[in-house]
Symmetry: C2
Subunit: 289 residues, 2 copies
């Protein structure tokens, strides 16, 4: 298999690096071309492409890690236009399950195929190759590309037809956002009570409050460091998808609504590029830090 990787951001960059290590990466592309060119310069045998029309003929698997539904649909159309039957697009972006189904329809009309394969595990999961990959699509297609996904998977789970991966990611984001609420509210209280973080965090982590987010972001949020991790504007974007999905499903989405309001407020005050643990700003006593 020969792979092209599209979207070399905080997640995509290290993921593409793992595919390169496995000897499978042939081409990269990025919204801002210089980033793709820099990657190609640093990785022997990888070309940066400005347009999908320039995709090397050998490429039979395209992986995308981009931002919005429109990006993925445009990519599906461009790839369909290449008319390469057998081509597979694996999309790691977080988009609506309906958009994933549309992308699959566009590609399948030309004999290509699509897997929605959103990931979770943060930037450290991408760097260490330890992501949880939630896949929707044909099991045969997944079986074919499994050696590629293996390059950065802690776990790979086939959740059902196209869209089931995105539905799973929506549930994941409810948890991610809600756990951030819990941890930030708790950390702000612990800080105000003068509890020593080097004792508080491992103590909480050894009991029923244990969670990934506190382990990874607790120490940095208590030091007011919000530069590395998951940008809150991106979680806000994801939660709009989740809110619509829950509304349609008829389930309660009050925690999602609360997170949307809080992250919207942080975006308005210029913190959109902060890590999601920046929510602690709204939890602290006003004017305390």
């Amino acid at each position: 298999m020969s792979v092209a990787f599209i979207g070399l951001g905080a997640m995509g960059g290290p993921m593409a690096g793992h595919v390169y290590q496995a000897g499978l990466l042939k081409a990269v592309a990025n919204r801002t071309l210089p980033k793709a060119q820099a990657f190609a310069n640093a990785h022997d045998g990888v070309v940066a492409v400005a347009s999908l029309a320039d995709l090397p003929a050998a490429v039979d698997v395209v992986i995308s890690c981009v931002t919005a539904d429109a990006d993925v649909l445009a990519l599906a159309r461009d790839l369909a236009a290449l008319k390469r039957p057998g081509l597979v697009l694996i999309d790691h972006s977080t988009i609506a399950s309906k958009s994933a189904q549309q992308a699959a329809n566009i590609l399948r009309a030309e004999g290509a195929d699509f897997l929605d394969a959103p990931v979770s595990g943060g930037v450290e999961g991408a760097r260490n190759g330890k992501l949880s990959i939630m896949v929707g699509g044909q099991p045969e297609t997944l079986a074919r590309v499994q050696p590629i996904l293996q390059c950065y998977a802690a776990r790979m789970t086939h959740m059902g037809d196209v869209g089931a991966g995105q539905n799973t990611k929506a549930v994941n984001q409810v948890l991610v956002a809600g756990i951030a609420q819990a941890v930030c509210e708790g950390m702000a209280l612990g800080e105000a009570l003068g509890l020593d973080p080097t004792r508080l965090l491992p103590t909480l982590g050894a009991g029923a409050a244990q969670n990934w987010f506190m382990e990874k972001r607790g120490p940095t949020m208590l030091q007011n460091q919000f530069s590395s991790g998951f940008k809150l504007a991106l979680l806000h974007k994801d939660l709009l998808i989740v809110q619509a999905l829950a509304e349609a499903a008829g389930t309660d989405h009050s925690i999602v609504d609360k997170c949307l309001a809080d992250y919207g407020q942080l975006m308005q005050s210029g913190h959109g590029d902060d890590e999601i643990s920046s929510l602690i700003r709204l939890k602290r006593k006003p004017g305390s830090r």
Copy 2:
């Protein structure tokens, strides 16, 4: 050391068992005496006492695992009345840090001492002897009783003076309650989307949504089983303490407020003895299950 254990509930019962295994348990007491008598009958060399006046003379450490602030204060007064200098009361209950300080004052006036030592790790942590113990009090006193706490500790952390253990537990309960909100809201959505729990739970657990609560209570909540774990009326009681503490500290307590409202509603509809994961009832589409 010789130990008396007071309060043989879902947590205290198995914890007392571990102290017995270590050969340190001499007496037990319980609000309903027959429970203490049954425990004593099943454990050689342990007596059930109806009143603290009957406490064996050899007992120098009393451990309590009861419900309310008033229970702990009454116990402190009864023990102080025994006038046994050197006696230590270790309290594992969740109460206000101010009540813990009152109990310490009462006991210290008679040459005895007090440690607030709330625990986290659930009924499984109590059973397996893997609790996180958050201790407030004199380091020398903690050092003395450490071999006893070791019987059921995964981790034991000295957090500061008397009350610091309870302050830590308050932070812990913010996380426990908020994570339950996140997980229950996510699980209700996953259920409505028809996602297979046997794939959903391990997938979420392998990424950034990983948390203790989902691992332990996810499978049971999706089967509508709420009989084992942490009774929601007890979490409601704890959160009233947390709410007052956060209010005094000036930090935001909106997730705590939301949890209090939701658990209050469940108590009113007769679910107070349910496990806290019973919150999923309020997250599901009305009438769906």
